[in-house]
Subunit: 364 residues, 2 copies
């Protein structure tokens, strides 16, 4: 020991009558008359401690309002008590709901949520995954915009389990919670065919995104199976691109009788375009849309949708992650959920007008 040193800003008191805001385990130990190891053991509950000691420690913890320093625990345990959630767009109601449920479930199990929004940029995704590798969350749930970025494998390499949500990832060690987008698109086509139309177009989510690619594939397969001509446009990711894509589809295929729309943001664009082009729904064009946002019932006519069980999917993802974290490890799992077709007025060519009129006036 060479020089005397000042204790660095040790426990600066709040000044007020209140107790010291930064109580340490050593102080608890002193008060309880035990070692800090014993305090730690009582708090963790993972080793047995004599009842008397246990009581004394509990009392001291109580009296001092002691709270363990998470930062120290994190360093020791080499991991932060957080779950990383990587999504592409928090403003998409699909992900808002997912984030809501994930946060709730994680919190209930003792973990916090670190939220990362990639905006569908591979660049940002890489940067976030790199950051997550540094922050050492206990696990990561990701709806990847780039399924094969090496940072995903790196997370798994360093022991951070990954669950893919909505969209698969390349690395086969990751769990995956998906929805059957292919089948859902097929269902939409079958429903429309069933209501008497055959010239069914598809205005889809960017096929750059796995979800978009699967939906398009399902649409094409269903049309082919029926011997119908498939015609589609790529609607990108946002309202504005959906609007323009819809215009294009209408221009290229004026005889179109129905359309399947690739997600809820695009639907906002599609509906505006249809209105601008003076196409009535469902009389001129029947519509079935992916996702089931809260306004689906409100628009006029109400919207037939393909709803994903987002709550169940998210809870499953969190559960898979935490099973993995807490050692109930198993083979990588891949769980696929089904969509539900919610038939409302936008897809019923016949009688829709009447039904509407029953429920409301012409305008509302």
């Amino acid at each position: 020991m060479t020089g005397k040193r000042l204790p660095e800003a040790s426990g600066e008191r709040a000044g007020e009558g209140s107790s010291n805001p930064v109580v340490t385990m050593a102080e608890v130990a002193e008060r309880a008359g035990v070692s800090i190891a014993t305090v730690s053991r009582v708090l963790s509950g993972r080793s047995s401690v004599a009842p008397e000691y246990r009581a004394r420690v509990s009392a001291a913890v109580e009296e001092l309002s002691y709270r363990p320093n998470r930062l120290a625990q994190n360093l020791r345990r080499r991991s932060a008590d957080m779950v990383g959630v990587v999504i592409s767009d928090i403003q998409n109601p699909h992900f808002s709901e997912m984030v809501h449920v994930a946060e709730e479930d994680a919190y209930r199990r003792g973990y916090r949520m670190l939220l990362c929004n990639t905006g569908e940029s591979s660049e940002k995704q890489r940067s976030y995954l790199q950051m997550l590798a540094d922050e050492r969350p206990v696990g990561v749930i990701i709806a990847p915009c780039d399924a094969s970025s090496p940072e995903i494998s790196h997370l798994i390499d360093i022991g951070i389990p990954v669950v893919a949500f909505d969209r698969p990832v390349k690395d086969e060690r990751a769990d995956a919670v998906l929805a059957d987008n292919f089948e859902a698109a097929r269902t939409a086509v079958e429903h429309l065919v069933g209501s008497g139309v055959t010239r069914i177009g598809y205005m889809g989510l960017s096929t750059q995104i796995e979800t978009g690619a699967r939906r398009l594939a399902g649409y094409k397969a269903a049309m082919a199976a029926r011997g119908l001509e498939a015609r589609w446009v790529d609607g990108g990711l946002r309202l504005a691109t959906g609007y323009r894509a819809t215009e294009r589809l209408l221009r290229e295929w004026p005889e179109m009788e129905a359309m399947v729309v690739g997600n809820n943001m695009l639907t906002l664009g599609a509906l505006r375009a249809l209105r601008a082009e003076k196409r009535r729904v469902p009389e001129d064009i029947a519509v079935v849309a992916f996702d089931d946002p809260s306004w689906a019932e409100l628009v006029q006519p109400s919207l037939t949708t393909l709803a994903q069980p987002v709550r169940a999917m998210t809870s499953t993802a969190v559960r898979l992650l935490i099973d993995n974290i807490e050692g109930r490890r198993r083979e990588p799992q891949r769980i696929v959920f089904r969509f539900t077709l919610k038939v409302r007025d936008s897809s019923s060519r016949s009688g829709a007008g009447d039904r509407q009129m029953d429920e409301s006036l012409a305008t509302w």
Copy 2:
């Protein structure tokens, strides 16, 4: 030194040819032939280091792909490189947008986002604030459902700055970024009066929430100033309660000609109730709604709204927080933004029908 001990799971190699996944600062120091203090100094850039040493360290960092251990940094610095964001409902588009912008701004400045969703429960808010005190984020942005919970003051006591968003907090040491809800409600009333109606009701956000209380107060003041009778109902927080409150208001005041609605979730309920009661908008009831969600233009007729500058408000909140964190501290600030009235068809009693007909067909 008493007993020999095993190095605890020291740097378990990945097995693959890849380099050791957990490189430490000591290894960088060794490789560069300097002390770890020097490595730290080079990396932090906060002290001057001889150019040659600097170069050697940089090279070693590069060669070993060294990344500092955040968990260790956090313990040393006594704070995690995160911003806590506490909101009431991520599924409300108002907060989705806020979270989106907050995350983006924070990330750009080098901080991550810890997201906490209280669901308007004071209980949950307390629990989250307690948790945040443990996690030691560099700062917290909160839209409080309980302005006076002592945990807010506790955060400030322990040196974590707090910025109130949307709704003020009791503790005067916190900054606040607010919108002028009182004035906005007044604007809505004036707009409706200007379009020729006088029997204007208010279906409002729960007055338990500061925002709701201010909006109601603004409505009442505006009505009083005009010598008009104010009649209102508390619409709670959600679509379903908004629906029922609207029904109640229509029953109690059948002569009502217009209504101001307290937020976007309630609006979904109000519009459904109006439709169920067969009241046409705007012919029977003109509507002005708080918030400007993406579907506002889509519903038929399009919705006149009071839009908050959410993006600017959020960026301001993040900036205030980070100024505080990075030492550009000043007196607590209180910044109030104004709403923008977006006049669309739902509030124009005269000519609305025609205008609509011009832009679209009867149904769409």
